[in-house]
């Protein structure tokens, strides 16, 4: 027998009389509650979603990193790298510095490197390549060598690479001479031991990113319409892991780890964690995420992100500093991942299912040099040498908020998904509102020819929902986006001014580009505004207004885009949630034409502002699309901009 309270409660819930009628009444009451509460629910989801985004850098989230794959056993070996190898590296460096000082051509340097490999007894070769882009031809020569594994059949390989230009300031032209010297000397060292179970491929790629893109594409036999590259003469097996060495300074204090790949792909976390443990315990070098100095290591340091005007008590509080330190890392990460950029040469390898990171020797007065970096790289490679299957155990979806702290997908993914759910609810609400409208009872009664005095003054009536005009607007704006993307890849916008001076004679390069961007901005805005004519038909009591239908589709599409992208590229989804979540929800038409136009202008600025304010970004994004196939540029033009423009068009429609 259940207790009396329970029985009473059940009786109350079930109600009296026919239980089916009760059930239907209850269902209707629930639907009523849902209908009344949905704006509040939407607001709640928005608040939770946005607050969640803000709490990501806080200490509420995050856990310590750990090694998941048992085969790795990081740091369990005695390394063979010794002072003799350091001296050899110094000699290579002298040669390379001499060649730099006499401005040796890239081909000459590549030949020198290839010859040095050959002198060590390792088969080597060079590869010339050229990319044809909007802003001109990018060409160079790669050098590479393949050390066959003495213990296995050469079906698997690891890559040790260094690009000729360092990643300092995202490839500003600082040479990576010590990185190249390290790789050459490592090759000499590794040649002497028979413990390798995988082929070792040494790659010295030209330029910053372009050389490796040419090499890795040729290695996998991928053709790219704008790339002309020599076929590779030497080949090896499937590449599982890769380490890229970036050592631009004289000495270094920390090793920074860079891990973001093209289009937001990340390497397996086991690779980062193994490197971190080895560097700390075998090499004695502390590890940083990027080159951000950890405030835990230097208690007096206050991260730049903490505002100066805060009182010292708060400014120097541990919680504030930790939040700022993590926020710095998250912002840097989002900056790379959302734009689909690689944070170093390693990022190009991810597209071929290779787990790769860049070790960045943070330039400093000391105390570390070739000795430390050599040991760390050797030990990390030997750890990866243990693998019997690809890295799969640890995480592929994570946020590395500190060098030993990370967030699992479950602790950050819900934030953008909640925002997108709020948008979805808004869209479904608009769809329902489009169907039902309040009508004065008198009017209704005359329509129906009934005379009933007891009914309330108003009553819900159904309307038809014509979807075709809204669909036209959607197709139109996305088509406009395709045209916009096509125009953005033309030289006068994307080439950063090189070509525009010839297109617009008598004008400086920057002015020419500015003029072109402004013209494009104006044209697209006007064209988008004209799109509103497609759905400007009158609404009536039997037909819902077009803006509601358009708003439904707009919100549902945007919500789908955000929630689907969140799995592929969290940073992009979070950015979209911030830029589209509230703005798209708030779009409504105005009664006055001026107010409507003002709102439309605001949305246009939101959708196309990048054309006016970020010329460098456009050039970079287009270049990344053309050389590296990063889909950020087409995504913005064909998905983001049209969605925001649709919200603008809603403001122009009749209420």
């Amino acid at each position: 027998m259940p207790p009396r309270i329970l029985k009473n409660l059940l009786a109350k819930v079930k109600g009296k009389g026919d239980k089916n009628i009760t059930r239907i009444r209850r269902r209707r009451a629930l639907a009523d509650v849902a209908w009344k509460a949905y704006p509040r629910l939407q607001l709640l989801l928005f608040v939770i979603g946005y607050v969640w985004l803000l709490t990501i850098p806080s200490t509420l989230h995050g856990q310590r990193t750990y090694i998941d794959e048992n085969a790795l056993q990081p740091g369990q070996v005695n390394t063979n790298w010794n002072w003799g190898d350091v001296q050899r590296a110094d000699r290579y460096l002298e040669h390379l510095e001499l060649m730099r000082d006499r401005n040796a051509s890239s081909h000459e340097t590549a030949t020198f490197i290839s010859n040095e490999f050959r002198k060590l007894g390792i088969p080597s070769s060079t590869q010339e390549y050229g990319f044809l882009t909007t802003s001109g031809v990018v060409s160079g020569t790669n050098a590479y060598a393949v050390l066959s594994s003495p213990r296995a059949s050469g079906t698997e390989a690891m890559v040790i690479s260094a690009s000729r230009l360092s990643r300092t300031s995202e490839g500003d032209g600082t040479p990576n001479l010590r990185g190249v010297a390290t790789v050459l000397s490592l090759a000499a060292c590794f040649k002497g031991y028979s413990l390798w179970a995988k082929d070792l491929v040494f790659v010295i790629s030209d330029g910053y990113l372009d050389g490796m893109q040419a090499w890795i594409s040729s290695y996998h036999g991928v053709t790219q319409s704008n790339l002309v590259a020599e076929p590779l003469q030497l080949s090896s097996g499937i590449i599982w892991t890769a380490l890229n060495i970036d050592y631009p300074g004289h000495s270094f204090s920390h090793l920074g780890v860079f891990f973001e790949g093209l289009n937001g792909r990340l390497p397996n976390q086991d690779l980062i964690n193994s490197f971190q443990i080895i560097s700390r315990h075998t090499g004695g070098v502390p590890v940083l995420v990027y080159e951000h100095i950890d405030q835990n290591e230097f208690p007096d340091l206050v991260p730049d992100l903490v505002p100066q005007w805060l009182p010292d008590g708060i400014r120097r509080h541990d919680t504030t500093k930790e939040y700022a330190y993590r926020a710095q890392n998250v912002i840097r990460h989002v900056g790379y991942q959302a734009r689909g950029r690689a944070s170093g040469v390693h990022g190009l390898l991810h597209q071929f299912h290779i787990d790769a990171i860049t070790l960045f020797a943070v330039p400093a007065q000391g105390p570390h040099g070739f000795h430390a970096i050599g040991r760390v790289v050797e030990s990390t490679l030997r750890t990866m040498n243990n693998l019997l299957e690809r890295l799969h155990a640890s995480f592929f979806f994570y946020l590395l908020v500190g060098s030993t702290t990370f967030m699992k997908i479950g602790s950050f993914l819900p934030a953008p998904v909640l925002v997108s759910t709020a948008m979805l609810i808004g869209g479904m609400g608009a769809w329902t509102r489009a169907r039902w409208t309040r009508q004065e009872q008198a009017e209704y009664a005359t329509e129906k020819g009934e005379e009933d005095r007891d009914v309330p003054a108003e009553r819900w009536v159904e309307r038809s929902r014509p979807i075709v005009p809204a669909l036209f607007v959607i197709v139109y704006t996305h088509a406009l986006g395709i045209v916009l993307f096509h125009l953005c890849t033309r030289p006068w916008i994307a080439a950063g001014g090189k070509v525009s001076s010839s297109t617009f004679p008598g004008m400086s390069a920057t002015n020419g580009r500015q003029l072109a961007s402004t013209l494009l901005f104006a044209t697209v805005s006007v064209a988008a505004g004209a799109g509103s004519l497609l759905a400007r038909s009158e609404s009536s009591s039997t037909k819902s207004p077009n803006y509601m239908i358009l708003k439904t589709f707009n919100l549902c599409l945007a919500s789908t885009v955000i929630s689907v992208t969140s799995v592929l590229n969290f940073s992009l989804a979070a950015t979209l949630a911030v830029f589209m979540g509230l703005p798209l929800t708030l779009s409504v038409p105005s009664r006055s034409v001026t107010a409507g136009l003002a709102k439309f202008a605001l949305y246009t600025l939101f959708a196309l502002g990048w054309l006016l304010f970020t010329p460098g970004e456009i050039a970079q994004a287009v270049k990344n699309w053309e050389i590296l196939r990063v889909w950020f540029a087409p995504f913005v033009c064909i998905v983001y901009t049209p969605l925001v423009l649709q919200a603008g068009i809603i403001c122009l429609l009749r209420p």
């Binding site: 009628i21 239907i24 592929f396 479904m428 769809w431």
Partner: protein
């Protein structure tokens, strides 16, 4: 718009698309074609056949010997003929769909909805992409629609013959036999709003159906004989029809079977294979009885069920169900969840390729990702089918209620149904 203009231009546009570079990228897609319908496998089988190797001796080729004989003799497949053949098949299917619509509305000539119906089939992304990927499911769809069309016209022999050929290509199509045979006796005209019993005495039903079953059996026997002659043995049966029963190839697809049987211990396999197969066979009879006033509608609901639950489904099967929805505008007003179903489909059609890529392309995901998205897909299809059944039944009650007691009767009915 005029059907005579719209239809040829749609087909022409479709043909142009088939000759672009796009199809090459789609051919290996797991969502658009299954091991039973994949074009590369068909080519492989033809190659083996030409070189004197029994294509059914390996585990790769699972197409019907009828396709083998057709494409190795009269209709050679190459990069010029294949796009044309698949376009013709789509055009035939769309034409048949329009004919079904006309039969349902008892129109002798054109109607304003013809163009819309043809467009709904030819522009349906599920149908279009599968057909661009040269999946042989396009032929199955076209043949099935032809069979339904003949049944609507009351032409018994063509109906049974086309259905027998469809069955040869895909065994699950045999389940359409009950609704289609009964459709031959009744009318394709919509009786959803005014349900009525079978227009003949139930005692006679066996006597009426027996000749049809016999005719179907004869066609099947002849086709089976021909197939055996062509392939030179009985080996084809286990490889083609047997695959539907025993699921030997666990290549991922949008269906619900593959992952289940990947994870299953071997000693449970026969039992669950039986359960899953019998589950499919449960539907045709109840549907034919419940919708005895409108058997075309029963066949329509069955397409949705099979697209969700059959052993090797692809998006082409779902596309057939979605496109056939255009035939029943009288049910739209009674649908309960059309918008959520649309949203689920929107999410799925992005999630399926994305998770497929994360698992097999970039390698950051695993099979569970794709499986999760196929479950969402199952939910989306389930919503659609449940809504089709609901709106089909409610149309009857609401129609009856209008004649009789008005809103009150409707409320009572809703209560009894709940």
């Amino acid at each position: 718009m005029d059907f005579d203009v719209v239809f040829p231009s749609l087909v022409a546009g479709r043909l142009l698309l088939a000759y672009t570079n796009l199809p090459g990228a789609l051919r290996h897609d797991h969502q658009l074609s299954t091991p039973l319908t994949s074009y590369p496998r068909l080519q492989e089988g033809l190659y083996l056949f030409h070189n004197g190797v029994d294509p059914y001796s390996g585990g790769l080729f699972r197409h019907s010997p009828l396709l083998l004989s057709l494409f190795s003799t009269v209709l050679p497949l190459n990069r010029y003929t294949s796009p044309l053949l698949w376009t013709i098949s789509d055009a035939v299917a769309a034409w048949a769909l329009v004919q079904i619509w006309r039969a349902r509305q008892q129109l002798k000539s054109k109607s304003s909805r013809d163009s819309l119906i043809a467009a709904v089939y030819l522009l349906n992304p599920y149908v279009l992409l599968s057909s661009l990927a040269l999946s042989t499911a396009s032929f199955e769809n076209a043949l099935l629609l032809l069979s339904v069309m003949f049944a609507c016209r009351g032409q018994a022999s063509p109906t049974l013959l086309t259905l027998a050929v469809t069955t040869h290509l895909s065994l699950t199509s045999a389940l359409y036999l009950p609704p289609l045979m009964l459709l031959l006796f009744t009318s394709p005209v919509s009786f959803l709003a005014s349900p009525r019993p079978y227009p003949f005495a139930l005692q006679d039903i066996l006597k009426k159906i027996a000749p049809f079953v016999a005719e179907y059996a004869v066609y099947m026997a002849v086709l089976t004989g021909a197939a055996t002659l062509v392939s030179g043995g009985w080996g084809w049966m286990g490889k083609t029809w047997g695959a539907v029963m025993t699921l030997p190839d666990l290549t991922p697809n949008v269906g619900l079977w593959w992952y289940f049987f990947t994870e299953m211990f071997d000693h449970f396999r026969p039992f669950f294979l039986m359960v899953f197969s019998i589950h499919l066979a449960i539907y045709p009879l109840p549907l034919s009885i419940k919708f005895q006033h409108d058997l075309l509608y029963a066949a329509y609901v069955l397409t949705g069920l099979l697209a969700t639950f059959k052993p090797y489904p692809s998006l082409a099967d779902a596309g057939l169900f979605v496109s056939m929805t255009a035939l029943f505008p009288e049910t739209y007003a009674h649908m309960r969840t059309p918008f959520p179903a649309l949203l689920v489909h929107l999410h799925c059609s992005l999630l399926l390729p994305l998770f497929h890529h994360l698992w097999l392309g970039s390698g950051t995901g695993n099979a569970n990702f794709f499986y999760a998205s196929t479950l969402v897909w199952g939910v989306g299809m389930g919503l659609g089918v449940a809504d089709a059944v609901w709106s089909g039944l409610v149309a009857g009650v609401k129609g009856g209620a209008k004649k009789g007691g008005g809103d009150l009767a409707w409320e009572e009915w809703e209560i009894t149904q709940e």
